[in-house]
């Protein structure tokens, strides 16, 4: 296995999507790190072979989207084993997952579905994070989701829930600033207060992405399909003032632009980080 490429503690990376792979491989642009959705590389695809080549030159972060740590049933051991096998091949600098569930009763819904924030779900989620960290033999980062509904059952504010997961399990927090902005808009809470509630020492990465306004209703949809919105850049600056230097990722998964646009967004994140 080749030596792992080094990474700076304030590196800015981009989400790696298939259409950009060849160009990155050919031009080797300056990018702090690459992040991929783990599930897209669990099959033995040609894309996996290309990723394994790129990891010689770029630190790679694995971002899981389907471990379904919030499911009210046992963790899927097969999926965990596939994630572990991928980690052994890629040797990522980070492995992250979500505060969400996406599968129940053997059916996978391909979405990051919201949890009821109760003491019972907190215990369950922490148990799953501990089981996953033990099975993978490494620390996870857990990302706050963007949400469009809240349950009547919920008793714990999301930032408090995230904080308690980190405290109980030792996992880190992947702070998705766009998700905070989107959920704060959708439910009318103060995004700065959310940032203030997160434990500085647990923050391991920041995500930035685009969103759009839903048609006909006062809802923002996190779509990873456009440039980072101005208010999210402002919230990012506030996050850096609170957290200090943090690895930051530009995510762009739908309506993919030219690679240059993605790199422009990364340069802007570097500039914001430089000022703060």
């Amino acid at each position: 296995m080749a030596e792992r490429a080094p990474i700076a503690d304030d590196a800015v990376g981009v989400g790696l999507r298939l259409p950009h792979m060849a160009e990155i491989a050919a031009t080797r642009p300056q990018i702090g790190f690459l992040e991929v959705h783990a599930e897209n590389y669990m099959a033995e695809t040609l894309a996996l072979d290309r990723l394994l080549e790129l990891r010689r030159d770029y630190p790679v972060s694995l971002h899981g989207v389907a471990l379904s740590l919030g499911s009210a049933e046992a963790l899927d051991r097969d999926h965990l084993a596939r994630l572990k096998a991928l980690i052994e091949q890629v040797e990522p600098v980070l492995v992250s997952e979500h505060l969400a569930w996406s599968a129940i009763g053997g059916v996978y819904l391909n979405d990051l579905l919201p949890l009821a924030y109760t003491e019972a779900s907190l215990e369950l989620f922490c148990r799953h994070v501990e089981e996953a960290q033990e099975g993978l033999g490494r620390r996870l980062l857990i990302e706050n989701p963007s949400s469009y509904l809240r349950y009547r059952l919920s008793q714990i504010p999301e930032a408090g829930f995230m904080t308690e997961i980190a405290r109980r399990t030792g996992c880190g927090i992947l702070c998705d600033v766009n998700n905070i902005y989107v959920s704060a808009f959708n439910f009318g809470f103060d995004p700065i207060a959310y940032l203030q509630a997160l434990p500085v020492e647990a923050i391991g990465e920041i995500h930035l992405a685009g969103h759009h306004a839903a048609e006909g209703v006062d809802i923002l949809i996190d779509d990873h399909g456009s440039r980072v919105a101005e208010p999210v850049w402002q919230l990012y600056a506030a996050a850096l003032r609170r957290f200090g230097p943090v690895l930051t990722l530009i995510e762009w998964d739908t309506n993919l632009p030219a690679l240059d646009v993605l790199l422009e967004e990364a340069r802007r994140a570097e500039e914001v980080a430089h000022v703060h």
Partner: protein, 266 residues
Amino acid sequence: MCTDVSTLLELQVRLRRAILIGDTAEIVDAILGDGLDPAARVGIYHHHAFATLGEALQGTFPVVCRLVDKRFFAYAAHEYLREHPPHSRCLAEYGADFPEFLAGFAPCQGLPYLADVARFEWALNIAATVREATPLQAQTLAAIPLEDSAYVAFRLQPSLSYFASPWPVDAIWQANKADEVPEIDLTSGGTSLEIHRADGAVVWRRLDLGTFAFRTALADGLVLAAAMSAAILKDSGFDLVTALRQVFADGLAVGFVVSPERQNLG
């Protein structure tokens, strides 16, 4: 309010039902309105799940989509998703039974070749998602005693699919990859295809009936004598030595066992 895991499970099962079936009656009371109809909030997740899973199917079956147009494909995908939601969490592995679904989907009956084009695209997908194994060298067989040679069963490349159709599906598929679709003669006859990954690319080719029967039998795990019998039924001039040499030349065999099970000959 006190909750336990069974309450959470019930909540998740109800949301799953609402997302898949669109029936929100059992979940809306559990959701805060926050200024919007709770059913509309569930609808956001329903829409996302169906849109992204539909896109995943479209990525795996691009020519099927082109043959029926995007709107009809979205409709067919929607019906399929309701009946066959994904079990694997890797979307590249979703859609194995989509061809069978299309074969029985009444609105598609006017396109009798559609399900076979879907089968072909699924075989291409398998080849694209399974890495090549190291081929077995022909000289490895020299160690097998002559009296055992009829009972050798091979393990073939895991990316391989064999697939026969009464329609020229490869020609239909190829033509529909281009912007301008040339005329296809649907009466030009069927195809017997071999699809696999070779040298880092997905490849396929048409096989003659004897070779197709022989290789399909090997892929099904039949011993050499049984595979030869299957081939001779299709081609009385079938030559085992040449056929076997070609299997090795194509790098298809990756392992073998000597089977004592003579009933495999049947």
